[in-house]
Amino acid sequence: MADLGTSAMLIALALAVYSGVTSLVGVRTRNSAMVSSSMRANYLTAFALGIAVLALVLAFLRNDFALRYVAEHSNLAMPRIYTWVAFYAGNEGSLLYVAFALAGMAALAMYLVPRRMGSQRPYANLVLMLILSFFIAVNLFMASPFATLPVTPIDGVGINPLLTHPGMFIHPPLIMVGLIAIAVPFALGIGGLLSGRIDDEWVDAGRTWGLVAWVLLAIGLLLGAWWAYTILGWGGYWAWDPVENAAFMPWLALTAFIHSIMVQKRRGMFRLWNIALINISFILGAFGIFINRGGPVPSVHSFGASTLGWVFLLFLGVVAFASFGVFFYRFALLRSTGSLESALSRESAFLVNNLLFLGVAFVTLWGVVFPIISELVLGETITVGQPFYNSVNGPIFLALIFLMAIGPVLPWRHATWASVRHAILIPGIITLFITAAVVIIEVRNVAAIAGIAVSTLVAVQIAQEMIRGTLARHRATKSPYPLAFLQLVGSNRPRYGGYLVHLAVVMLAFGIVGSSFYSLERDVILSKGESADVGAYTVEFTDTTTTTFTDRTERTATMRVMKNGSFVGTVEAWHGVYPSFNMLSTRAGIRSTPVEDLYVIYSELQPDGKTAAFRLLLNPMVWWMWLAGPFVILGTVVALWPARQRAVAVVTSPSREGALPSGGAL
């Protein structure tokens, strides 16, 4: 297996290098046969890496402990299903996984990119193959999963027991693919620039792949939050941990990008800005990879000492330098064709959106980088943690949500205050009433009230848009209401897909406001039969069971839950103690309702065997945060769904013919 895997990777590296070189030479010498050859080499690279992946999977399945990676991350007792996790449990396997994912996406992107993109296509392929070659080379020569041991052990070390959780099946691979997927829109943008063609052909493909990377990261982050909430056992879902931030920052920049690219798609403006945004996104993605690899900051995502830190720091430097190098080299070509007619327009709303998203990304980057600077330059250790991020990023997010109520209803080019009033008058009034009700019932905090107010405004405003649109459709086509609604969504998928995602953001906002400002928390010690109150709930500790395994001791506590004195059910809180890993793993007992979650953590059993320490939490509205995930996926699918052929024909031909001569004139 080792030989097969290594050979496959060597062939993949050769193919990737060949594909890059022939792309460049082919496009420079206008040799279209050579360009076709380079594309075929691109597809074959993915195929070769697929064989390497298969070889590693087979090695795991056959317990081939001659391979160091297999011996270190599995053993005979490991259930076969965990091969999926063991595959990327270490540096070597995860790099192979990333390289394979990148190769697959690069092949798909080049296959799907319209031929009319002409010379932009081989240049984009060149950029992709450069990045891919880097990853394959590092994987092959510095961290090979196919390295063999001098003596074949009888059994492997085994997988980290804490990795054997279903959550591990989806969250890490999604984040990894999401981070590397940014390479595709980045390559399309930079490839377009390198080719020297200034038209907007890269915009459609760039937007599509930008959205793909965006949704992968979004779902990866949400799953991480969900998993932290159910497993970590502190009632939280987001800690502003450096590694979380490392995945969050590129997502923020991508969010700015997928909004801003619409301005170029529709109006031919912000050409410079969109290239800058996709550059920033990919640089932040490279920074994320570096933070994960090099580990210069302490993080909850414990990772073994890695010797690859400097390699990825170098990669980050080269990406940053090269991307903005190309950007300034082609600066003169990137003049916008359109112009801004009014400061009050969809275009300027997008600009404010971009400012705010990059603002959050900057604040987060500052918080990650400052402790490193402080320690290196001043020799003073400073922690920048949650309170900083919450109090600085909180208001920016508030402004962003408010913008979600205004921006989407502003017309392009030129809006009037009357149009704004028309859009938010009714939602504004409804919001006022709801907010007043909230203030009367429960006043805690100005920030919480503001958060509830802006989120309500957005939710009501989107509902109003959908109702108005459906009614108009119904009048025009006489379709029944449900059909009229579907027709409405179908008539403008990017817009209504966007609304669905905005609704998901509102759900997240409600969950975050509820759990940050209205959460109740108590630490209690209970003997069997005793109970404690938290909010309207009474929790009674009825029993605990202990099961001992070779590697761990598991305990489950059963709690009877009463609400306002009447019995509503039982919850089971679990924990496991792993002496050899010096770890305590908890799984909270959660009773989840749309209004609030009762959350019980079993932290310790006292030596008498009858008394235990618990932490009880009441987290309002968290249920909604997990509903946001399906909405994000649904919204993105709607937004990405290809438009009808008729619409494509109408849209593309005039803009293409128009853009070329005018571009030449500039």
């Binding site: 969250h171 056992g233 943690g385």
Partner: protein, 193 residues
């Protein structure tokens, strides 16, 4: 990638940097005569009001030996002890600031989850608002330049049909109502974000 190797696990393994903290902690504990873990009979129960304050305080104090976790999140014995110390100070009637001072004196300044608003810590708080203001200023300039560029573009490149829609100029050419109409009709023909 590391998101892989340990996302979301409680890692209470001691690292180099943390070792110093741990030694410090042991010294402090020895001097206080406190036991490692909190026993049931010593557990300080709090009133609901104090419980709420305790939760905020826990979230503001880092566990000295667990990477990146506050004592509200960590299950390490030291966090348990530190939570108990916070509860004791709360019952004794200390203000939040007094408790933070007490804890930093015992465990060092870097257990504060957010930097103090003084000295070098001030820079952490100071830079983001300044950067945002600069960004807002840049956007304003950009908008103004785009608006004044309007006339130039109209003269420079009004040739292609694709440009017609973009170069009509915002004022005075009487096209406004028609363009408005076009914008309203557009969604039926073309995608719109």
């Amino acid at each position: 990638m590391v998101l892989v190797s340990g996302f979301l696990f409680i890692d209470i393994s001691i690292r180099k940097r943390a070792l110093v903290g741990a030694l410090l902690v042991l010294l402090v504990l020895a001097s206080l005569g406190a036991p490692g873990a909190v026993r049931a009979q010593e557990y300080v129960e709090l009133t609901p009001e104090l419980d709420a304050r305790a939760a905020d305080l826990y979230a503001g104090i880092m566990c000295p030996i667990c990477n990146g976790q506050t004592i509200s999140q960590s299950h390490a014995a030291i966090s348990e002890t530190m939570r108990q110390m916070v509860r004791e100070r709360l019952v004794a009637g200390d203000t939040d600031q007094q408790i933070y001072d007490f804890m930093t004196e015992a465990f060092g300044r870097d257990i504060l989850a957010s930097p103090p608003k003084s000295g070098i810590g001030l820079a952490v708080w100071f830079v983001p608002p300044v950067a945002l203001l600069l960004g807002a200023f840049a956007v304003t300039l950009f908008v103004r330049r785009l608006r004044s560029a309007d006339g130039l573009v109209r003269q420079g490149s009004g040739t292609g049909p694709g440009d017609l829609a973009d170069t009509h100029g915002g004022t005075g050419d009487g096209l406004e109502p028609y363009l408005q109409l076009v914008d309203e009709e557009m969604p039926d023909i073309e995608e719109r974000p």
